[in-house]
């Protein structure tokens, strides 16, 4: 009897876990994620970079090399590039 009394808390926890699991499962079925539409734009002009650094590694002297960064407008207003100054 003492042995079963010791197992009682474990049994209760197991039952509670089962109930929670079933509840979560039902929630997933009855309440699918709502379609919130396209991500909302930030207020004003805003620019995001896909990546902002690049390593060419070894390059020969006296030659032209190039890399293209991509800028994305993530604001609700037109972003302007006022100027670009070489580093």
């Amino acid at each position: 009897m003492t042995f079963f009394r010791g197992l009682l808390p474990l049994f209760v926890v197991a039952v509670l876990c089962a109930i929670v699991a079933v509840q979560c499962s039902e929630d997933n079925v009855t309440n699918p994620p709502k379609d919130t539409g396209p991500p909302s734009l930030l207020p004003g002009p805003n620019i995001a970079f896909a990546d902002s650094s690049f390593d060419f590694g070894v390059v020969p002297q006296t030659s032209y090399i190039s890399h293209t960064f991509w800028l994305y407008s993530v604001g609700d207003d037109t972003a302007r590039i006022i100027s670009v100054k070489p580093g």
């Binding site: 390059v59 032209y64 190039s66 890399h67 994305y72 580093g87």
Partner: protein, 180 residues
């Protein structure tokens, strides 16, 4: 360094390529560049954003690289109406282990880089770089960047230069870049 912009604005949801063209003439070592981009993102003050570039400029690439290209840079003379412009290229592995590579940056042009991507130890592979277009391509200065599988993850950039060339109808004149 030059930064030709196709336009100076980006509409909401749109994107803009920012191409950085770098001329390595004046340098002989590891360099770091950070072009500054000034934008109107703040209504009061101009916002400055930076992109960062690193390169190791070498007059003789074969002294430090586990993979040695031949040639180290390629120049096309593109003839209108020609359908094939290509240059052979060899990558030599001077280490005692097999090395593979992947292309981590390439021009946004119809250019094929066809070289076996695994180079056995102390061996070489040969392939070609080819302009794959039936129509004329304006002059360009571009490059391919390769990243190797060695422990240092070495990178190598192969410059490509194409000059408009209005030929007389003969063969395409193709040559290794003699040194700009």
């Amino acid at each position: 360094m030059s930064v030709p912009l196709e336009r100076d604005y980006i509409a909401p949801g749109d994107s803009l390529p920012l191409e950085i063209i770098f001329y390595s003439s004046r340098y002989t070592t590891r360099i770091y560049k950070a072009p500054a981009i000034y934008t109107n993102e703040d209504s009061v003050a101009t916002i400055v954003r930076w992109v960062k570039l690193w390169a190791t400029v070498c007059s003789t690439i074969d002294t430090i690289q586990p993979i040695r290209p031949e040639p180290s840079k390629v120049s096309f003379l593109y003839a209108y109406g020609s359908t094939i412009d290509s240059a052979n290229i060899t990558l030599r592995n001077v280490t005692d282990e097999d090395i593979s590579f992947e292309i981590v940056d390439r021009p946004d042009l119809p250019i094929v880089f066809e070289v076996p991507s695994t180079i056995k130890a102390n061996n070489l592979v040969t392939g070609f770089i080819k302009i794959d277009s039936d129509t004329a391509i304006a002059a360009f200065k571009k490059s391919f960047t390769l990243e190797f599988s060695d422990s240092a993850k070495s990178r190598l950039t192969i410059p490509l230069k194409c000059s408009n060339y209005v030929g007389t109808g003969g063969d395409v004149n193709l040559s290794e870049c003699p040194g700009d």
